[in-house]
């Protein structure tokens, strides 16, 4: 197969694995612990907020300078749609990688463009969600829920944004015809990072949004 040959071509290494690929996997391993700390912190303080707004319940909260009743924060349909888009973007990037490894430029450009669009959509959804929450009275320092929620999902969102920028630079290279099969490993490394961002959300989505 062309793609098996294409990504086998790299300078000799003692492990037989492309050094950059080994490096990204090691980085991903360290990121697992980083996100585990953030998710644990969210869980530790779950249900410990003394004032609202709260994720799933009607609560008393300070809004426009006076205590009033606040609606639950989460909008599950919107986040579910964002989750589906992020999941599909993982599918898009493996299709793009397949195109890069087999030298199919049209396939590469189409699927990689869709991946970048998916990432940008997810980031935009999160910006909308944060803005919406802020206007409903949930600032960063409002309560324990807001601090742990914004920190966890904000760090994830920043990873999505960085990933979308990274894939965007590869898309520009692909448009210029510089992402040839012998350089497909560049996309493979970015794709691994993108999949990691996806698997982190696979954990965050049920833990934060679906478990009350």
């Amino acid at each position: 197969m062309a793609h098996a040959d294409a990504h086998a071509l790299h300078p000799p290494t003692s492990t037989g694995i492309e050094s950059r690929k080994l490096a990204i996997w090691t980085f991903i391993g360290s990121e697992c612990l980083f996100f585990a700390s953030l998710i644990s912190t969210y869980l530790v303080y779950k249900g410990k907020s003394l004032v609202g707004p709260l994720p799933h319940e009607v609560s008393q909260c300070m809004l426009h300078g006076k205590m009033q009743q606040c609606e639950p924060m989460f909008e599950i349909p919107l986040v579910t749609f964002g989750t589906a888009v992020l999941l599909f973007s993982s599918f898009f990037v493996v299709m793009a990688l397949n195109g890069a490894q087999t030298g199919n430029r049209k396939k590469l450009l189409t699927w990689l463009s869709l991946t970048v669009l998916g990432g940008l959509f997810f980031a935009a959804m999160q910006i909308y969600e944060f803005t919406h929450f802020y206007h409903k009275g949930l600032g960063y320092t409002t309560n324990l829920f807001s601090q742990t929620f914004y920190t966890l999902t904000g760090f994830h969102g920043s990873h999505v944004t960085l990933g979308a920028i990274w894939l965007g630079t590869l898309l520009i290279q692909a448009f210029r015809g510089k992402l040839t099969p012998d350089k497909a490993v560049n996309l493979e490394i970015a794709a691994l990072y993108w999949h990691f961002v996806d698997v982190v959300w696979i954990v965050i989505f049920p833990v934060v949004y679906l478990m009350r």
Partner: protein, 120 residues
């Protein structure tokens, strides 16, 4: 001295990655599992099929954990190619995940004790 040759290496990485048909199947399974997650949430909290709420409610958290773990494994095995790439890469990923789970359980356990002591 390393026994590496001057030729490009291939023994670890030249494994066949799954093809587009597998990727499509996995995407569909992931979509269905996500839909199931939301369905479990909605049934468990009385959003739909209220007759089943009493049965499903205590199972919401375990079901969500199982569904989430299944999605995680599918992405890691097929999209991140851990099923076809070398065992070294799987080890580099799985070991930190085990550490991460231990870290999470330790933190949650520790703080549960702290909150209990504070309440007293």
């Amino acid at each position: 001295m390393s026994n590496a040759t001057a030729m490009p290496q291939s023994h670890e990485e030249a494994h066949e990655h799954p093809g587009p048909s597998t990727y499509i199947k996995i995407a569909l399974v992931l979509f269905v599992l996500t839909a199931l997650e939301v369905l479990v949430y909605e049934i468990g909290h009385g959003g739909v099929m209220r007759a089943l709420q009493g049965t499903v409610e205590p199972l919401v958290v375990p079901l969500l954990i199982v569904l989430s773990a299944a999605k995680f494994a599918l992405v890691a095995m097929f999209y991140m190619h851990l099923k076809s790439d070398g065992k070294l890469l799987s080890g580099i990923f799985v070991f930190p995940i085990i550490l991460a789970i231990c870290l999470a359980l330790a933190l949650i356990g520790l703080f549960s004790v702290v909150f209990l002591l504070v309440k007293r």
